[in-house]
Symmetry: D3
């Protein structure tokens, strides 16, 4: 029995509020139960130095957590003067995941920065960030495509032809379960994050034994749960972006 | 005529959502029109070293802005590795303002940290932060008082007997106006922030000539507008805290 | 009775030694009693990036305090690796105050940096800095104007047509007093800094209740004291710059 | 055909030189072909604050790369003043992997720090680090056990009963291959790191699509290669530690 | 012929103003010609952690330069967020030099920090700092000894029985000269700093070839000049401390 | 009697392994007994800004120590976020020493960075670094000269016509000794580092009294020992570079 009373393959309630931010070119407030992340997509013409003049664009991500998003207050990274290793690891994962489904050539010489800020945390902030970031990115790219078309210089194709979503799974009380909340996550034997595409492929698998090592069978069962969860996210993404 | 069509002494719509955060001891999402700030109050037993063992508490504040809270993306302070001078100036002002109405002896050996994070910015983020911080602080102190009473060791009195609120005023197109939004603020001749108490006193006045110097008459007219605005904030604070 | 025996509207002895530094384009050692600040004005052709090519100049300030300028040794900011919030707040105020009386167009594409270093502190270091900075700036601009005239390309006018001065006032033992020293400042109920121009205008008012809130009447009485004090500073500035 | 001429399931030559460092309690210079990492294990009685007095020990890791370990010189992290996100990600992985096979209770109140410094890089530095770290840790724990026994207070058991090893696999030119070198790594379609134990379990799986997403079949084939590779590493570890 | 017209073995005019700072336990404004350094000695009961409870004291130094102490403005180290290698090298040298003549056992469990801040620079700031630091230290120790005696617990002896002084010498236009100013220093072939004691010993010799290597003969000639210069400094120190 | 049993003028065994690094343009693993330093020379076309377009090159050095190169583990400078004063002092000395024998005009618009990383420390790491850096630099310049000649644009001459070497000497148990190891160094009364050229000149002398001041006679005896030691190093350098 899960602490939340959910079935092993049952997600928390997903909510995706598109256009939450008044200023960003794309945005989404994504909620996986009590985990709430605000994602904004900012489009800029300025590229990182090593990409300039190559006819290609870039998608990158930054991640942060409000100090009291968590049960007890954490210190503010801006005040400490540096981002933790965990923060950097997560923002690298988010950027990589979104780039995996973006055609940077079609995007052209633009950089899109995905800011994922955790307003409230209850487990699974990195996977909620990736899932919501796709919505913000989709909306931003819709805007780029509309503007380019209006100017009579349409893009040669949609730079974001595929969806990407992420979900955490884990072994809790010996049972593989989907979409861990904080209580389960703190007590999980194995913890895994999967980043999957709507065309059925995997772009990232990260599985970690918190206690005893896991076996191949367990890895595959967690993957199966992840497919169930991501399909639910894909549907929510389509709905949020009006498709 | 103001860009927004408001009368010179007309505030933007104020909204204060108490208990917005699931984890914090007190919290408030405060909206002054399109300016949205999430304030959380975190209660800790740990005091700064110079206050330990003196029977007195402390109230402090930290301030931050999400990178895309603004019209164009700003850099993330955690990634840059330091807080700007503006950020530090604002968080010092917020802390000072709330301490001005808190009886730190009555509070006892506790520290309350007020995290003010700007989710969306349209002018007046520091004054909205102070105004919302009072609500978060009030709720946190209500909890402390209730817990102490339940343990049979009630506080000797309410550490927060008075309200504090803040508002910005300025001279726009030669006319003194109340509660500047971003468009007015960018173009104001004189810019002032007032922090007032519900008992009629001033705890902070900051007036700056952006262009030509201002005179005493102007300062007093801005103060009069600030009293109008703060009275509206005081009412909203009472409503949000159920008084 | 003030600790120093001064009358409520009596300044400390002001001394302004122009040209104290052998290398700077303008400099002034300013003394308000036992508060001693060395201000240097450095003229450079290099502008901050966002100002280049706009035909306009810039005036900025940096502030520091020698570690043992104070009663007990403070830590060295260079060794700690960052400037405190207080330091940043003060240097922003100094820069703003001097820019308020400088015509940046007339100045042309030059940057003048005002370094205000406190050699000895006894209250009022920020207001002494502003008052002395005007002298250093005046001398530097005199030099720029003389050089430009000698080259046959005189400036179209004096970029520094007005004087600016600053003074602190406060309520001590219930009495409004002028030019607080450290002993008074540590014990003041209300503390205010005024930045005024020689043409009678205000460029900055900052008033803070250290204890009980203050009222409008008090604010106006402090302003009146500030006018008395600044007039004395204006006279000292003229004498120091040989006008 | 692999650039190096190796068969798909062929490792580079492994060399593990135990006791390379004169001062460390355990050390190993590990070579996977042209990738050379020096690992030292330092035993200290001082624990991190959150572990003190709980009767348990800690194993942690730090990772670094000499500036010219790579084909072109990289900047020195100490001179830049911070560790990159990549560095932090790797050292967190190394620490986690070694803790997965260490019984921290049996270790007792000691901290062992594993410093992994890349002397020369040719792909697979993180997996070589983990593999060599086991040797350094084994030697350090052998010393702790011998000392404790000599004092007549033997440890209740061996804190390191199992081996852990890591290897990278990937898809190169459409073919799953084992132990990628730099040339293959730069050009791999999918890149995976496996951390396995000598008892057959997995402690960490990280698979990333560099280009097209990968499928379950590919993940399993990479895992199979990893088992081949880790078995070879396990044998080398035993030999290096004289078992 | 030296640019300044001085004879090869002629010092600049030395001035040592004791008690320049109102707050420090010891202080000295030292002038070697146009090089002006303010040295303060701060006495604290707090020792660095590694010295506590060993019955011994500590003398340490910090060094800084006002941004416009030099011909062109340098950046402020506090604003840059770190001290340069040059600054650290100098402050280590100053601390070492003063410790060389201080009996730390006799000093007892106190730390004296010597802050050497260059107000104006014209070559030889590190040697002027050391020379002036002796005066500030002497005055601070005089105070400690007087206070201890007044309390009836006199020190067992004078912790500063010997003088230390420093001077720079160099080869300019092929000629060994004493006490280089900035013009000479910029153009010197060999540059040397000597730290000597009043009892005739050397505590530090640093000689550097700026151009061609130097020979033993040159080193000895520079040492001879340094003895002449230091004797003059010793006399000035005695005069400044009223001996 | 020296702790190691060496004669007063006896060096430790010197070993210089050229070409130790597969990637660097020049490299050397230098061993002075148990002190082992890896030096790499990296050639880049990019010059520091202040040297660009002047037809001249640059040689610079960076120094680091692996955390467990020493008897007890030191903290990692990259993790602490800054290089110590000692590190900066040493790398400045190494750079200066090598530039003293390099003709930067002949080198042309190239920068060579000498990374000196201490793999194992037993005293004399800075002098071993300088001695080994000459070998790495020699090999890198050999490569530059060969490439330039192959392109038909030979350098006008050898930019490294002279050798440079360094050695530490000191007074141990009252006796001047050559090439101190860690045990002697910790206990030395006077400690000196000499940087000499193969043509008989000195480029740097640094002598420090750790306890009692030293006299001229001692300085000269240490210099004599240094000449003996450097001659041995010059021979090893020639052998390592195949001359």
């Amino acid at each position: 029995m899960r602490p939340s009373g959910r079935a092993p393959d049952q997600m928390r309630t997903i909510e995706m509020i598109p256009g939450f931010s008044a200023h960003a070119e794309g945005s989404c407030l994504v909620k996986f139960g009590q985990t709430h992340v605000l994602v904004t997509a900012s489009v800029e013409d300025r590229l990182p130095p090593w990409l300039r003049g190559k006819g290609s664009g870039w998608v990158t991500a930054e991640y942060g957590m409000l100090p009291r998003a968590t049960h007890t207050r954490g210190s503010r990274e801006a005040a400490k003067g540096k981002q933790s290793g965990r923060t950097q690891e997560i923002q690298r994962l988010i950027g990589r995941s979104l780039r995996a489904v973006t055609d940077l050539k079609l995007l052209g010489e633009r950089q899109i920065t995905l800011d994922c800020d955790v307003i409230q945390a209850d487990g699974g902030t990195r996977t909620a960030s990736i899932s919501g970031a796709w919505v913000a990115l989709r909306l931003a790219i819709d805007g780029i495509m509309a503007q380019a078309a209006a100017k009579g210089t349409p893009l040669a194709g949609d730079p974001l032809a595929t969806q990407v979503a992420a979900i955490s799974c884990g072994v809790h009380n010996g049972q593989p379960v989907l979409d861990l909340d904080y209580v389960e996550d703190s007590d999980a034997g194995t913890d895994a994050n999967f980043v999957l595409t709507s065309s059925g492929g995997m772009v990232e698998v990260q599985a970690t034994a918190e206690g005893a090592p896991f076996d191949e069978e367990t890895l595959l069962r967690l993957l199966r749960l992840a497919r169930i969860g991501c399909n639910e996210v894909f549907a929510a993404q389509l709905k949020a972006t009006g498709r």
